[in-house]
């Protein structure tokens, strides 16, 4: 079975967010980029399923410029077999989805796995767009994924519960915990990753449909009002009379 795992290159979760002076772009200076945490679930689960099937391939795909390659190599070190980078800045979700759909179709992939959402742009939309572009089902967000032959059984999170869904290949799923325990690269993985194939291709498709005009930081909090512990009940009065939330 052929697995395609889409990974997004995002600022580390502890990053202090700042923008360029014109507030039009995210300021990358000094920022450490990582594989989007949710995409690590997709990657590890694909590798586990491949191992369980005793054959097949796991390809990682990123839409990004050359500076994303260290994280693509990291995905190869974790256990993907090969990688594709679409050489373009990921302009918007629709642009990215078109690249993924085109590669998925040409490569005849059976299972297309992603993360639930990117932690930078928080779009939560690429998976649905890819499914629609390919005319195949998308299950998002999935907490569990098992395969038996060409049929997958997934647990999809819904507000307040979960659904058990069955789909046949090809399909798209976006992954989140507790799907698996994301793997970290070991020494052998890091060595072999250097020689695994990483193909660079040029983008296809139509223009993006959205554009960020300007970024801003959220308004600052006024500062905390402390209530002495021995007087804890006072807090409840403030929540009712001052904050008016209870």
């Amino acid at each position: 079975m052929k697995f395609l795992v889409c990974i997004s290159n995002v600022p580390d979760t502890t990053t202090k967010i700042a923008f360029t002076p014109d507030n039009k772009e995210f300021n990358k200076a000094g920022v450490q980029f990582v594989i989007n945490p949710w995409d690590e679930y997709a990657l590890t689960r694909a590798i586990e399923l491949k191992e369980a099937q005793g054959g097949g391939t796991v390809t990682v795909l990123n839409v990004g410029e050359a500076d994303t390659e260290p994280n693509i190599r990291k995905a190869l070190a974790i256990g993907a077999d090969d990688a594709i980078r679409v050489n373009a800045f990921p302009k918007d979700a629709f642009f990215v989805a078109q690249q993924i759909a085109s590669i998925a179709k040409d490569g005849g992939y059976d299972v297309i796995l992603m993360g639930k959402e990117s932690i930078d742009y928080n779009g939560f939309q690429v998976h649905g767009m890819v499914g629609e572009l390919l005319g195949i089902p998308t299950v998002a967000p999935a907490m569990k994924l098992d395969m038996s032959g060409n049929t997958a059984t997934l647990e999809r999170e819904i507000e307040g519960g979960k659904e058990i869904v069955e789909v046949n290949t090809p399909f798209v799923a976006s992954c989140q915990q507790p799907m698996c325990e994301p793997r970290i690269p070991n020494m052998r993985g890091i060595m072999t990753a250097r020689t695994k194939p990483l193909k660079v291709v040029e983008p296809v498709g139509d223009a993006p449909r959205t554009e960020v005009a300007v970024y801003a930081l959220p308004p600052k909090k006024e500062g905390v009002k402390l209530i002495p512990a021995e007087n804890a009940g006072e807090l409840i009065k403030l929540l009712r009379n001052e904050a008016k939330v209870i």
């Binding site: 979760t13 502890t14 659904e163 959205t210 554009e211 801003a216 909090k221 409840i236 939330v245 209870i246």
Partner: protein, 325 residues
């Protein structure tokens, strides 16, 4: 030309987030000089749908097909696309929920629309540009996004828009059919399993949340969290390490890698306030922190705080809520 609003219903009732979505849609319609129609999904009653008039909706389309009671991506997408065609909808508004995102993303491709999720304000339509504000970088930033397609889809974040309540106004409820076939239900769930919620309050929809971290010491102490939550009518939540060690179920874990909540009130008990935790709660209107360490980073993000022991403070708070009546 019109604005189409997707309204999610459950057990006959319109979800609170959908009342916000309806109010958002009717205000966009007013801005564009048109009216707002709703299309309802899930289990609804005619009386509750008619009441959407209070949120400024003039007409509600409803397909009573029983298989639409639970979420089915294929069928929901086709139904809403058909409603959008019939109503010549230029703007489609839905909730930024798991259903809204799943349907919205497919619709954007099918209807060649610009899609913006996580929307937190009404749009601006000035100088030929349609712009809307959304949250990004897990609540650490805001972005003004321009939608360039003729058709636009907006997924509105919970609790960012005040629901309208114009008492006495009713919407006209019309039955609607998208001629759905068995094929549209191919991805229907085999089974739907709902979790038990503390006091029956659903965390993602909750107005108030009481949340516990490692400072609670063990699952046997969660009655303190639950008692306060019950007294307040709040949902319960937890930090990631707490669900990792199974003190609490995974669906209660909030943060960067859990669910994002934006209630009016978030009470954090024995949670340090790591940046990844804040990412899931930082758009709450009022944040209360109870922690014995005055240096805990959470205090920097809080509106109210108590430096103290949760085992001492929580019972006092529960008592004080009960005394409020």
């Amino acid at each position: 030309m019109s604005v189409l609003v997707v309204v999610e219903c459950d057990g006959g009732e319109v979800k609170k987030s959908s009342l916000e979505v309806a109010s958002y849609g009717s205000q966009v319609a007013q801005m564009l000089g048109t009216t707002a129609t709703a299309v309802a999904v899930g289990e609804a009653t005619e009386a509750n749908l008619a009441q959407l008039g209070e949120q400024g909706i003039t007409k509600v389309l409803y397909d009573a097909e029983p298989r639409l009671k639970d979420f089915v991506n294929g069928a929901y997408t086709k139904l809403i696309a058909a409603a959008a065609q019939q109503e010549d909808a230029k703007v489609i508004v839905l909730a930024n929920s798991n259903i809204g995102a799943a349907v919205g993303s497919r619709l954007s491709v099918r209807l060649q629309a610009s899609l913006v999720t996580n929307v937190i304000e009404l749009p601006k339509n000035e100088g030929g540009q349609f712009t809307v504000k959304r949250g990004a970088f897990s609540g650490k930033a805001l972005a003004d996004v321009v939608l360039s397609s003729d058709r636009k889809i907006l997924a509105v974040k919970k609790n960012s828009i005040e629901a309208l309540h114009e008492a006495g106004k009713t919407a006209q409820v019309e039955s609607f059919s998208a001629q759905l076939t068995d094929a549209d239900f191919a991805d229907a769930p085999k089974q739907v399993i709902m979790q038990e919620q503390t006091g029956g309050v659903l965390l993602p929809e909750a107005d108030k949340v009481v949340s516990g971290g490692r400072g609670m010491k063990g699952p046997e102490n969660w009655n303190l969290i639950e008692d306060l939550a019950k007294a307040l009518g709040a949902a319960t939540a937890c930090s990631k390490p707490v669900s990792d060690v199974d003190w609490r179920p995974h669906h209660e874990h909030v943060g960067q890698t859990g669910i994002t909540v934006s209630p009016n009130l978030y009470i954090a008990c024995g949670i340090s306030g790591a940046i990844q935790h804040l990412a899931g709660v930082n758009s709450s209107k009022v944040i209360v922190v109870i922690n014995k360490d005055p240096e805990a980073p959470f205090f920097k993000a809080a509106d109210y705080g108590i430096v103290g022991d949760v085992f001492d403070v929580l019972p006092k708070l529960t008592q004080a809520v009960k005394e409020l009546g």
